[in-house]
Symmetry: C2
Subunit: 223 residues, 2 copies
């Protein structure tokens, strides 16, 4: 294992018995056939269970709906990409030439998928108990902060409720730009709200994500 | 524990150390505040991981997409309701008076949710290893049968491909009836295909499910 990978291992908090598993976990599909998509499938399930179980025990009185929303917040792409940036994962990704050139090491979806693949790899390397302990470490500040209720609503819903509560007209969303190829598009959406002078712009890998990003910015301006 | 519940335990293959967990797992929300929805949330995650892990090891060469589709087939409502009927779970459900009258013990969604809740209860009662072993027993014939590939496609997709392959016009779906209250609706959808004389009807708890049910019936008539 190289010095570079050792730094990643230290950040993750796990020494792999089987170094090939880590290598596979950080290999994007664009870089060859031994890529991380199967590990990602496994890691997604493991993360989902560990978070579900933790919420179940931490919030003994909270409804299934609120637990679902909290879990969605904790396992969504945005949160996983934040974790990836804490690990400086972009520096270690193994990408194909196309993805390298187009800045794949910064793309949230690739970063998030790789975190899931790493979780799958740790699980295969060391089992459930080790994986659970690590995940709870990674998630400790987020688990301490998370609360059931409104904050789990998505930005578009919160923006709509904010405006409705003030009897103001609802926002409209317009796609102003789409660039890139089919599986790698970038959408730019403008959120228009009566009474906000400057236009609010959101960018994302899908129309929905771009709208949510725009709504989040609009909320910041309004509040 | 009553004789009746003992019969259920024998079918499930697990003796509960904490009998209250089983009672809660079979209690529908309509029957009071100590109902099974939180257990269902937990059970859903556990099932998802156990199936993901099993598919990962059984199909070492299969893509993430095919594993996803196989898992979806194995954990969908229809499959869980089949398991519920194997356990004769309808005889043990604890339902509120409204659900009792409207035949809730036969409804697929209630049966499927209860199976998930029972999985959550077994996990809390006995841990991951016991739960995994049981689930692999329950699923043994289905796991032996499942294959990656086309058969995992949903009925609407298969119907569309079937018709396209024969250069025939595509089906249309029309909602012909909606009954029941908000969280408990029943949709009836008619699937219209040129060249099928009799109309094909599907019923489900959502428009999508009713359409899938109609497509499945249409496929049976066509093949």
């Amino acid at each position: 294992m190289t010095d570079k990978l050792n730094r990643l291992l230290n950040k993750l908090g796990h020494q792999f018995a089987d170094a090939d598993l880590l290598k596979r976990a950080i290999t994007h599909r664009s870089a060859g056939s031994r890529h991380n998509e199967r590990l990602e499938f496994l890691g997604d399930s493991i993360l989902s269970l560990v978070i579900a179980e933790t919420l179940y025990h931490r919030f003994p009185e909270v409804s299934e709906g609120d637990m679902s929303r909290m879990r969605a917040t904790l396992v969504r792409e945005k949160t996983l990409a934040e974790l990836a940036r804490e690990f400086e994962l972009g520096d270690y990704l193994i990408l194909g030439p196309g993805e390298l050139k187009s800045g794949g090491y910064r793309r949230e979806s690739i970063l998030a998928d790789t975190v899931e693949a790493i979780i799958g790899a740790i699980y295969l390397d060391a089992g459930m108990e080790v994986t659970r302990t690590l995940l709870l470490n990674w998630y400790a500040p987020r688990l301490d902060e998370i609360r059931p209720g409104a904050e789990q609503k998505d930005p578009k819903t919160r923006l709509q409720e904010f405006l409705q509560g003030r009897r103001r007209p609802l926002p409209s969303y317009v796609v102003v730009k789409v660039k890139g190829e089919a599986h790698n598009q970038e959408f730019t959406v403008q959120c228009e709200i009566e009474g906000i002078a400057s236009s609010v712009i959101g960018v994302g890998s899908s129309r929905r994500k771009a709208e949510q990003a725009a709504a989040e910015k609009a909320l910041e301006q309004l509040k």
